[in-house]
């Protein structure tokens, strides 16, 4: 466990050392908040509810989007692709440490720094702009929200890990990964709640794993998803998580067999 803690600690130091990159990453999230907060404020002008969301629920969704983006979407699997393509992964494979464990420690460090920053941004925005926030009426909601969030983090890690392993077979995986990430962000509700979209899109997205990443946990927090719908959503999360664990293991084993590195 000490080895993984050391990897986590070193990654935190690395994150804070490259402050410019860190700040740029945060700047992107802040502009998304500003743009969508302003947009939804304009949309909500003269009305109290829209698409079944009250004003406070919608703004909590927008701000919650920022926090969950930081917690769920921050990851270091881009580095995994780079390490495979450059052969750097060889040195990790020879060390007495699980590479997946190392990736998880690195991801956790990224999530920790991003989360602290996003919470500060959201608190500042809510205070400065006097944004009305929605807090769950039932204490149990927090526990269920925590569970859905944990599953969302696991799901995203597995998905990005699977896409990153394509680097074992091609050095051209960066473009497809970019496409995957954008599709994932939109279809997970990371730009707007999926309820905005026509029914057909909502139906399709509800069966895909992406909505489980942001839209589902946020709507659990807002107490808009309860009872059978909550059970169904949890079932979808568990189903995809099990499937992706299996796929990730298979791809990793096959990828290692296909992997070769030259030079020293």
């Amino acid at each position: 466990m000490g080895k993984y803690w050391a990897a986590f600690s070193l990654s935190i130091q690395q994150e804070l050392y490259y402050r410019a990159s860190f700040l740029m990453e945060r700047a992107r999230s802040i502009t998304v908040i500003i743009a969508f907060y302003a947009f939804w404020s304009a949309v909500f002008q003269g009305r109290d509810t829209l698409l079944g969301y009250t004003r406070s629920q919608m703004f909590t969704y927008i701000l919650g989007m920022n926090v969950l983006r930081a917690l769920v979407f921050s990851d270091k699997t881009w580095e995994l692709m780079h390490e495979i393509n450059t052969g750097k992964i060889s040195s990790y494979l020879m060390r007495p440490i699980s590479y997946v464990g190392f990736c998880l420690s690195r991801d956790a460090a990224d999530k920790a720094t991003q989360l602290v920053s996003s919470i500060l941004e959201v608190a500042l925005a809510a205070w400065l702009l006097k944004i009305p926030l929605y807090w769950p009426a039932h204490p149990a909601t927090f526990a269920v929200f925590g569970l859905t969030l944990a599953l969302a983090i696991v799901l995203y890690f597995l998905m990005s890990y699977i896409v990153a392993t394509f680097a074992f077979w091609t050095s051209e995986s960066a473009g497809p990964r970019f496409c995957f990430e954008l599709f994932l962000e939109f279809s997970s509700g990371a730009f707007f709640p999926l309820d905005v979209l026509p029914r057909i899109f909502q139906s399709v997205f509800s069966f895909l794993p992406f909505a489980s990443l942001l839209y589902f946990p946020l709507n659990v927090f807002l107490e808009r998803i309860t009872g059978p719908l909550l059970a169904r959503g949890l079932g979808v999360q568990v189903f995809w998580a099990v499937l992706f664990v299996w796929a990730a293991r298979r791809l990793w084993e096959r990828g290692l067999k296909a992997y070769s590195a030259d030079g020293g």
Partner: protein, 265 residues
């Protein structure tokens, strides 16, 4: 002029060959850009199924703002994408190489990467603008049509000048400090605020987006001019602002070049 065209053409062909060689990667980048465009259009169209207007603008008007933002941004990316690599050029010594070439160093840096994927992105954007135009201009008189149309084109060109100036300022800063190239990503983030009509933002933010980071002038003013919502004072302000910014950017670049000392071996 002919020499510059020849150089640009050669660099463009090289960039195309590079992107064509890495076709799976290029296809992925292109797919991502299409996904982003498609989802935003879907979002805008979908929201108008629930509300009649946003900040007083109709669906066609909001779509025009969004498409104009894309038009200016994409053309800027096609023409000056190379500036994003200026930090690497300095560190790896390519900048020294550009300086001894018989072409303007700034032109050489800008043309370093002509992104053909953005050329392809122009097709749906221009197509959609042509679809939106008649719906917006339906009730206009011939004179207003000509005037507003001309202003739209001129202000789009003005937006390109602003985009170019901001990129040159960042390049000058990078040349001066041999770092700070990440600043360009700050611009990329801020320019995204221009996706929606600038009127949705608070008055304070509107001032910032007009005078400090003139994103509003760059991507919102052309659409406002077409809709007949831009006063003559603001039109003059837009051109004056871009002229001043261009002068400052070019002067900063010249000064940065004077202070430049090679960093590579």
């Amino acid at each position: 002029m002919k020499r510059y065209w020849q150089v640009w053409k050669r660099l463009a062909v090289m960039a195309f060959l590079m992107q064509f060689t890495n076709r799976w990667s290029s296809l992925g980048w292109l797919g991502g850009k299409f996904v982003r465009l498609a989802f935003f259009i879907l979002f805008i169209v979908s929201i108008f199924r629930h509300v009649p207007s946003v900040a007083g603008y109709s669906l066609e008007a909001v779509a025009l703002f969004f498409l104009t933002f894309n038009l200016v941004d994409i053309i800027a990316q096609i023409l000056i994408r190379g500036i994003y690599m200026v930090g690497r050029d300095i560190r790896e010594g390519d900048m020294d190489f550009y300086l001894i070439q018989p072409v303007n160093a700034l032109f050489r840096v800008c043309s370093n990467l002509v992104d053909f994927l953005d050329f392809l992105m122009l097709i749906p954007v221009v197509g959609l603008i042509l679809w939106v135009f008649p719906r917006i201009l339906a009730g206009y008189s011939g004179e207003a049509l000509l005037m507003n149309g001309l202003l739209y084109v001129l202000l789009c060109a003005n937006g390109l000048v602003i985009a170019f100036s901001i990129h040159v300022l960042v390049a000058a800063l990078t040349l001066r400090t041999q770092q700070m190239e990440e600043t360009i990503w700050m611009y990329r983030d801020l320019v995204n605020l221009g996706r929606f009509p600038v009127d949705i933002y608070t008055p304070f933010l509107q001032v910032i987006l007009t005078f400090v980071f003139p994103i509003a002038v760059m991507v919102s003013y052309p659409s406002k001019a077409l809709l007949g919502l831009l006063s003559p004072q603001k039109i003059v302000l837009a051109f004056a602002l871009s002229a001043a910014l261009l002068a400052v950017a070019l002067e900063s670049w010249k000064r940065a070049l004077k202070h430049y000392s090679s960093v590579s071996s």
